[in-house]
C-alpha cells in the first residue's frame, strides 16, 4: 500500500531519484564526527524556525503589548515556557555550534581554493546569527532587553558622520517605541530568516559541489579507499550529534525553567543590564577604553574580526592544508578565541564578585516576579507592561499617600507620627504607649504631653490588646481584651481617654474604633473633630478632597501597613 502511494508520487515527481541524488554522496576518507556541525546547525535552524513560528502565534509586537504577551506565553500558555526556552537556548546553541563549525572548517583548511566563497558565505551567516540575537533580545520588551539594546543602538549612534542617521534608522525614530519593536520584529522574523535560509541553500549547494574538506593527513589513495556513503554512515553520526544537542538544550531548558523574563521595560528606572553572553566579550572590552577609543573599539572590533575572517582565504593561499604549515594563521584565530573567552570570563567574574550588582539583580528579580504575578492574576492594562504595577492591591492608595501624606509622616522632615510598615500593629501600639512623646509618635506635635504607660507584664499586654482590638481585626484574644477593658476603666487611662466612639471633647482622643477603616476615613476627613484632637489638631482637614474610591484606597493602604514588618525601629 505504502509502496503504491510512493509509486504514484514518484511517477509524477521523480522524488526517489531526487532523494537518491541528495543523499548519495561519498564521504572521502570516511564519515567523521568532525563533520557533524553543519548538519547540527541545519537542525537548530529548523528548531528555531519551528519554535519561532509557534511563538509568533502568541507574540504581539507593540511596545504596550509585547511584554504582556511574552509573560502570557511564559506563565500561562501550556508548554509556553518550554517553547520559549527552547527558542532562547536554541539560539545560544546555534552561536556555539556555529563557532565550532567555523573552527573545524579553519582547522581543516576548508577556506582554501576552491572553497573560498563558501567560507565567506559562512562568515556572513555568522553575522546574520548575531543579528538574530541582537533583534531577538529586544522583543520581550523587558528591562534587560530594553536597556541592553539601548547600548547597542547607542554604539551605532557613535559612528562617525552618519551615526545619528544610523541610530535613528535602527530604532526607527528619535527614541524607543512601537516602531522600534515592529522594525526589530520584521527584521527578526522576515528579513533575517529569509537571508539565512537563502544563504543556507547556497552554502549547502556549494558544499555539495566541492564536497567536504577531507583530512589533510590522508593521501588521495587512502581517501578513496576509506570513503563511505553519506547516507547512512555520515548521516548517522550527524543524527547522534543532533540528538545529543537536542537533549542538552532540553535538559538545560528544564534546569532554567525556560528563558528569563524581566520586569516590563520602564524608561523611568535605572537598570543594570547585561547583553547576551555572546556579546559579553565586546561588553567587557569596552570597559577598558574611554572617549574616542571607546568608539573606535566598539565599532572597530566587529569590523576587524569580520575582516580577518573574510580575508583569511586570500592571505593564506598556499595549497597545503596541514595545520603545521599554517601556524601563523591558526594562531591568529586561536588568540582571537582565547581573547573572547578571557573577556567573557572576566566579565562574568566581575559580576559575580560585585555585591552591588548582586543587589541590583535581586531587586530586578523581585520586581519581575511581582510583575508576572500581577499579569497572571489580573491581566495587563492596555497602557503597557509597566502599567501592570498599578493593579497591585494598595497601589492607588500608596500613590495618594505618597502625594499627600508622605511629607509629614515619613522621613526626617516629618511633622507628625511616623506612618510606615507596622503602623497600628500591636508592636506599634505597645511602643507608643511606652513612649508617646518619642519623635516616632507625637514628639513632633503639640500632642506630646501623654504620660508613658508604666504597667508591666500581662496587664500591659491586655491594654495593648484592647487598643489593637479597636482596629476591627477579628484575630484578637477576647479574654485579654476584656481584661484590658477593666484595666482601662479602673486605671488612669480613662482619666483622659474614652474608648466608645461617642464621647467627645476629652483631654486625649477617643480611642473607640481606633485604626479601623471607618475611623481612619473619618479621621482623614476631619482630624480636628472633637472626638479626637479637637483644637490641638495640626493635621490639615481633607473634607471634599477625596472621592469615596480614593478614600477607600488610602485607608486600605494604611490598614495594609499593619501586617507588614517595620523596616526601621
Amino acid at each position: 500500500m505504502l509502496k503504491r502511494v510512493g509509486d504514484w508520487f514518484d511517477e509524477r515527481t521523480g522524488y526517489r531519484q531526487a532523494l537518491e541524488k541528495a543523499l548519495d554522496e561519498d564521504v572521502l576518507g570516511g564519515a567523521r564526527f568532525a563533520y557533524v556541525f553543519g548538519s547540527v546547525l541545519v537542525f537548530l535552524l529548523l528548531l528555531q524556525m519551528t519554535t519561532g513560528i509557534f511563538l509568533a502565534m502568541y507574540y504581539s509586537p507593540s511596545s504596550s503589548d509585547a511584554w504582556a504577551s511574552v509573560a502570557f506565553v511564559q506563565d500561562q500558555v501550556s508548554a509556553g515556557w518550554f517553547v520559549r526556552g527552547l527558542h532562547s537556548h536554541g539560539a545560544s546553541a546555534m552561536v556555539i555550534v556555529a563557532g565550532l563549525h567555523l573552527l573545524q572548517a579553519a582547522l581543516f583548511g576548508a577556506y582554501k581554493k576552491p572553497r573560498e566563497l563558501n567560507w565567506i558565505i559562512g562568515v556572513l551567516m555568522l553575522g546574520i546569527l548575531l543579528g538574530f540575537a541582537l533583534t531577538g533580545y529586544l522583543l520581550p520588551w523587558d528591562q534587560t532587553g530594553y536597556w541592553a539594546t539601548q547600548v547597542a543602538t547607542g554604539i551605532a549612534g557613535t559612528s562617525p558622520v552618519i551615526g545619528q542617521q544610523v541610530q535613528q534608522a535602527m530604532q526607527a525614530g528619535n527614541g524607543y517605541g512601537n516602531l522600534t519593536i515592529t522594525r526589530f520584529f520584521a527584521l527578526h522574523v522576515f528579513v533575517l530568516p529569509a537571508a539565512l535560509v537563502g544563504l543556507t541553500f547556497v552554502h549547502i549547494a556549494l558544499f555539495r559541489k566541492h564536497h567536504q574538506t577531507p583530512p589533510w593527513w590522508l593521501d588521495e589513495k587512502q581517501l578513496k579507499a576509506r570513503s563511505q556513503p553519506f547516507w547512512p554512515d555520515q548521516m548517522f553520526k550527524d543524527m547522534v550529534a543532533m540528538a545529543l544537542v537536542f537533549a542538552i538544550i532540553v535538559a538545560f531548558n528544564f534546569h532554567t525553567h525556560g528563558a528569563s523574563l524581566d520586569a516590563p521595560a520602564d524608561p523611568s528606572t535605572a537598570f543594570d543590564a547585561r547583553p547576551e553572553w555572546y556579546f559579553r566579550a565586546l561588553f567587557q572590552g569596552l570597559k577598558y577604553f574611554h572617549g574616542i577609543f571607546e568608539v573606535i573599539v566598539a565599532l572597530g572590533a566587529p569590523v576587524v574580526v569580520g575582516g580577518v575572517l573574510l580575508a583569511l582565504p586570500f592571505v593564506d593561499k598556499g595549497p597545503d592544508r596541514s595545520p603545521s604549515k599554517r601556524v601563523p594563521y591558526l594562531a591568529v584565530l586561536g588568540v582571537g578565541v582565547a581573547l573572547v573567552a578571557a573577556l567573557t570570563l572576566i566579565s562574568m567574574r566581575e559580576d559575580a564578585d560585585n555585591p552591588e550588582f548582586a543587589k541590583a539583580q535581586a531587586k530586578a528579580h523581585a520586581s519581575a516576579t511581582k510583575a508576572r504575578e500581577l499579569a497572571k492574576e489580573f491581566g495587563v492594562p492596555p497602557a503597557g507592561g509597566a502599567a501592570v504595577f498599578t493593579l497591585e492591591p494598595g497601589y492607588r492608595g500608596r500613590q495618594l499617600f505618597l502625594r499627600d501624606c508622605d511629607g509629614c509622616h515619613v522621613g526626617n522632615a516629618r511633622k507628625g507620627p511616623e506612618i510606615i510598615e507596622g503602623y497600628n500593629s500591636r508592636r506599634w501600639i505597645a511602643d507608643l504607649m511606652r513612649n508617646p512623646a518619642a519623635p516616632r509618635f507625637f514628639g513632633l506635635t503639640k500632642l506630646d504631653d501623654m504620660k508613658p504607660v508604666t504597667i508591666e507584664g500581662q496587664d500591659f499586654d491586655a491594654l495593648v490588646e484592647l487598643v489593637y482590638s479597636q482596629t476591627g481585626d477579628p484575630l484578637v484574644d477576647k479574654a485579654l481584651v476584656a481584661k484590658g477593658q477593666t484595666l482601662f476603666d479602673e486605671g488612669s487611662c480613662s482619666d483622659c481617654h474614652s474608648i466608645d466612639w461617642e464621647t467627645e471633647g476629652e483631654v486625649g482622643p477617643n480611642l473607640g474604633k481606633r485604626g479601623s477603616p471607618a475611623m481612619l476615613q473619618a479621621f482623614i476627613v476631619q482630624p480636628g473633630h472633637p472626638r479626637w484632637f479637637g483644637e490641638r489638631n495640626e493635621m490639615p482637614a481633607n473634607a471634599g478632597k477625596y472621592s469615596d474610591d480614593e478614600l477607600h484606597a488610602l485607608v486600605d493602604y494604611l490598614i495594609g501597613l499593619r501586617s507588614l514588618s517595620p523596616v526601621t525601629e
Binding site: Y58, S69, A79, P232, M242, A243, F246, V380, P382
Partner: protein, 179 residues
C-alpha cells in the same frame, strides 16, 4: 562476500537508528508544540462579564416603542494577556411593553453570528447577512436560515436602572447552549 554482508547489515542498522533518532526527536518536539498550539481550545481567552451590566434607566426606554440597540460596556474584561476597562463586548436590543416589562435580546444572530438589525418598515428583526428574520418578540419567522429565535438576555431592574446579563450562545443549532 561475508564482508559485504556485514557491511550491508551495518548500514541497515545505521539507517534504522538514524531514522529512529530523527523520529524520536520529532515526536518529542511535537508534544509540547501541540499543547502550545491547542492551549486556547476550550479555554476562556476572552472573558464575558458574569455580573449584570447597567445599560440604561427604565425611564429612558419608551414603553411600546420599537426596540433600541444599546451597547454592553463591560469592565475587567480579560482578552488573553490584557485587562480592559470600559470596552464594548457586544450589544442588545431592549424593549419595554405598555405594562412596563423590559425585555432584552442579544443582537448576535443565532444563525452565524452577524449583528441583527430592527426594521421599522416590517416591524421585525432582520439579519443583514443571510436574511434571517425574527418577530418583535424574538421568535423565529419562517423565512431565513436561523434555527432558533433571538437569544433572550436576563434582565434585572435595580433602583430604576436596567441591568442585562450578557451571554453568548453557540450558533446555528436549535437549542440554546451558552459558550
Amino acid at each position: 562476500m561475508a564482508d559485504t554482508k556485514k557491511l550491508e547489515n551495518r548500514r541497515r542498522f545505521l539507517k534504522i537508528a538514524t531514522l529512529g533518532m530523527g523520529g524520536a526527536v520529532t515526536a518529542l518536539m511535537s508534544v509540547p508544540l501541540l499543547r502550545f498550539f491547542l492551549h486556547p481550545v476550550g479555554r476562556r481567552m476572552v472573558s464575558t462579564p458574569e455580573a449584570p451590566i447597567d445599560v440604561a434607566g427604565v425611564a429612558d426606554i419608551v414603553a411600546g416603542a420599537a426596540p433600541v440597540r444599546l451597547p454592553i460596556i463591560a469592565s475587567g474584561v480579560r482578552d488573553a494577556w490584557n485587562r480592559l476597562e470600559d470596552v464594548a463586548v457586544g450589544s442588545c436590543w431592549l424593549q419595554k411593553d405598555e405594562a412596563g416589562t423590559v425585555k432584552a435580546f442579544s443582537a448576535v444572530c443565532p444563525h452565524l453570528g452577524c449583528s441583527v438589525d430592527f426594521s421599522q418598515a416590517s416591524n421585525d428583526f432582520r439579519c443583514p447577512c443571510h436574511n434571517s428574520a425574527f418577530a418583535k418578540d424574538g421568535t423565529k419567522k419562517d423565512d431565513g436560515p436561523a434555527k432558533r429565535g433571538l437569544d433572550p438576555l436576563e434582565v434585572s431592574i435595580v433602583d430604576g436602572r436596567i441591568r442585562v446579563r450578557y451571554q453568548r450562545f453557540r450558533n446555528d443549532i436549535a437549542e440554546r447552549e451558552p459558550v
